[in-house]
Amino acid sequence: MIVAIGVDVDDTFATFVRVAVSTGTPIRLVNIRAAVTGDWRFDLPPTDGAKLFHADGDIVLDPNDSYFCRLIDLSAASDLASAGRWRALLAALRAWIEAVPGRVVNRPLGGVHNGSKPLHEALLLGAGLRVPPSLTSSDPAELRAFAREGLTISKTVCGTRAHTATVTPDDFTDFDPESGPVHLQRQIVGDDARIHVVGEHVIMHVALAGAVDYRRAGAIRTMTQREPPAALKDALIAATPMIGLAFAGWDFKIDADGTYWCLEANPMPGYGPYDAICDGAISRSLLKYLEHAS
């Protein structure tokens, strides 16, 4: 059995469930927004089923089932009492899901290194992928020198979504180290590719060049599905579990020579908009991956 655990207001979760229903795939749902209002019991180690009791109905989770998780924390949007229940339920779910033996998509600890870009890029390099040169520093001389070496963009170190901006050496003339650290990366001019990988399934979408960040430019809708180079496909099928993920949304830039430069591997990707372009192919791949284990 496939169990989907998430929140009903999450578009990606809704996309997955919708495709499961439309393909007639048996699936059980846990809506965390409902579960948090009821009672629960999770035994560790997970030798027995976990139990959730709430108004929508009682559910027993079998540790041997397959799990699609999007454990989104809405405690910050809740009142004080509810926030405590959110944190406690998510802590229980994370501990239990991390321990179950079966296939899990979006394990809680999977890919957390994406929260430190230099560390993440080092891991991508170690997985055999080509990564644009980068520098993380609070030293104005180092930052200026890097920016002088070629087209340069500035990104957040911690991965918080922000405007990715082009920078020049002059931007660091009066730089105060107390304003740092700063993460700079060599800008690759070219098309954008998003490649979703789950198990052996690889689905690539390409957006034509034109923006530093195609997602902010609203270009997702214009993306087209293409077959990735065979060598890259094999590399990503191997690299995805190597960096601790069952499912990843890989971001690449394709330069004028046709070289694929890896920008990042998104853990728990919000793949809904891409799935809409390929008529649910990503969701179907996820279901096949989870069904295979079931």
């Binding site: 629960w40 999770f42 560790l44 405590g84 229980a92 430190s116 520098l135 993380t136 650290p181």
Partner: protein, 255 residues
């Protein structure tokens, strides 16, 4: 921050100045004529330059570090920009400490820094629950609720979720401190000797990717169970073998 001695810093201590364990380590290093430099978490983050290019990866400076959670204890930031900058510093230091070639205690990994692990994370039976119905209260359960109150299961009320585990009220406790490949038992009590706690502690530390930790064991005649792994031991846990532990920490940092 300046070096404690005229020698160039050879070890960076990343901690608040009043951290008792960090103070002891600092003193031990200085007694060995090793230069020490103190940094808070943000100060340490701003020290490093991390470069990734066609030649590979470099972290500079590349110096041994002794890292404590107190490094990040700061006044809560109400300003969103200040909170963001704190996250940027944390992410940078995480990468530098994970990637540098020199010894780091404790070195963060791809999943971050290991926090305090309690019984459930160490493989012992534990229950996470909301509502105590269905848990038979035989007097052996101990809970911690969502407000961090601890006590017997009877303390649980239906409004607060809690974690629970069985506690043996007749059990003894032993603490084993791990530093690298060395393990130091707090006592020489013969009741704990038969449980091979040093070897089991080293195995636990290795599996959880920590190089320095205090592991607390619940010891009964027939079995000993790990109930806490603390990767930031305080002096209460170290004091039984402090000389040996400090010696081992210095050796590990200077390896």
């Amino acid at each position: 921050m300046t070096a404690e001695r005229s020698k160039p810093a050879a070890v960076i201590i990343v901690a608040q100045r009043h951290d008792p364990v960090a103070l002891r380590v600092s003193r031990a290093l200085i007694e060995r004529n090793i230069g020490v430099e103190w940094k808070t978490g943000c100060e340490a983050a701003r020290l490093f330059t991390i470069r990734i290019d066609e030649r590979g990866l470099t972290v500079s400076p590349d110096l041994p570090m002794f890292v404590r959670p107190s490094a990040w204890w700061a006044q809560p930031q109400s300003d969103p920009d200040a909170r963001f900058l704190l996250r940027e510093c944390h992410a940078t230091f995480w990468a530098a400490a994970a990637l540098c070639a020199s010894p780091v205690l404790n070195r963060p990994g791809p999943s971050g820094t290991v926090g305090r692990l309690t019984a459930g994370a160490l493989g012992q039976a534990e229950i996470h629950a909301a509502g105590s119905d269905g848990i038979e209260d035989d007097g052996t359960f101990w809970i911690e609720d969502a407000d961090f109150r601890t006590g017997p299961l009877s303390l649980a009320d239906n409004s607060l979720p809690f974690r629970a585990r069985r506690v043996d009220p007749t059990a003894d406790y032993e603490i084993v401190v791990v530093v690298g490949a060395q393990a130091f038992e707090a006592t020489t009590d013969p009741r704990t000797a038969k449980h091979d706690l040093p070897a089991r502690s080293l195995d636990l530390a290795r599996r959880h990717h920590v190089q320095f930790a205090a592991i607390t064991w619940e010891v009964a005649p027939e079995a000993a169970l790990p109930v806490r792994l603390n990767p930031a031991p305080d002096m209460n846990e170290l004091r039984y073998r402090s000389a040996d532990v400090l010696n081992a920490l210095c050796e590990a940092l200077l390896a």
